[in-house]
């Protein structure tokens, strides 16, 4: 976020922060209510909850952490982090059914 901004500029920001706060509260309530709905498959419940969590995470990271208007250096750091994070998750899921010989499974 650029450092040289007037106090008036920040009072405009404050209003935006409040809207984000209301959205986060709303998102939390929707997450709880959505978990009570039987979508037919449990996988859909998981997908819905994680989708709402991702939306909330975007609001926190984008507006409270100012990621929507950050320097390229930070985007670079986060791109590396995202690569390794999703790599970790991907490898875990990819190898899940790849059991060693003679493994006892349930």
């Amino acid at each position: 976020m650029s450092e040289a901004q007037s106090p008036e500029h920040f009072s405009h920001h404050v209003r935006r922060y409040l809207y984000v706060f209301y959205a986060l509260i709303f998102g939390t309530i929707v997450t709880v209510l959505a978990s009570l709905i039987p979508f037919g498959s449990y996988s859909i419940n998981i997908a819905v909850a994680l989708f709402i969590a991702c939306c909330k995470a975007f609001l926190v990271a984008g507006y409270f952490m100012h990621l929507i208007s950050e320097r390229k250096m930070i985007y670079g750091i986060l791109a590396f982090t995202a690569f390794f994070f999703f790599g970790l998750m991907g490898l875990i899921l990819w190898h899940f059914h790849d059991f060693p010989m003679h493994t006892v499974t349930h």
């Binding site: 106090p7 994680l50 409270f64 390229k72 750091i77 982090t81 998750m89």
Partner: protein, 265 residues
Amino acid sequence: MDIPYTTQSRPDTGLYNAKLGIWLFLASEVMLFGALFSSYILLRVGAPPGFWPHGWLNVPVGTANTLVLITSSITTVLAWASLKMNNFGKFKFYHACTILFALTFVCIKSYEYHDKFVHYEVALNDNKFVDGHMKENHLKFENNAWTGYAVLNGHVVDNREELYDLKKHHHKGHEEIRVEGPQIKHLDNYGPWHNTYTAIYFTLTGLHALHVIGGALVIGFLWGPGSKMFKTDPERFTNRIEVSGLFWHFVDLVWIFLFPVLYLL
């Protein structure tokens, strides 16, 4: 000699040094929690059918804690914005709120932990299970056998699987149950040793709670003795508040995923 680039941006990075530092630290934190989340996925997917717990945690309490943490996030960002608008009084107010919310979060979490530590599953010799909160514990383990008695507030089930999916198996009406020592085959509480779910639950939420406590200590310092810097070097102090705020928002971000994963799904 002054520390360089505490307020001005470095020409090569475009950032003041503390900001670059906190983002590198947060990147390492993403990988730390990422490793634990991947452990959670492995444990959950690898659990025998019917033996991954559902409904073990109190959703209203977890929801309240989520709202507390979200509110602490807005007070943190408002504290920083107040400094940007040269309003030190408002900064003090908002950050005092942040510290109070952090303490509230830790108190609620402690209550939840306590609830798990007094909650017992007792396997009986007749292959039934008593599940409930310990009211009186006069049990002793001597010569490989239980003696004495215990009183629990809970219910009895024939099949252990009924204790796992509480969304499917509603246990209406808890009653006081007296269990004699010689009836007991095995008992333990719902601490981290109970099963893989409680192990990963306590690991994830415990690590997160340590982050909350650490963040609250830093914010408490900057709110109290550390705030003197605002008089001598306001821009540097404002940057410190921004950096501590970035950490606090990250803590909030982790909880945004922990809450549905542990409490709702």
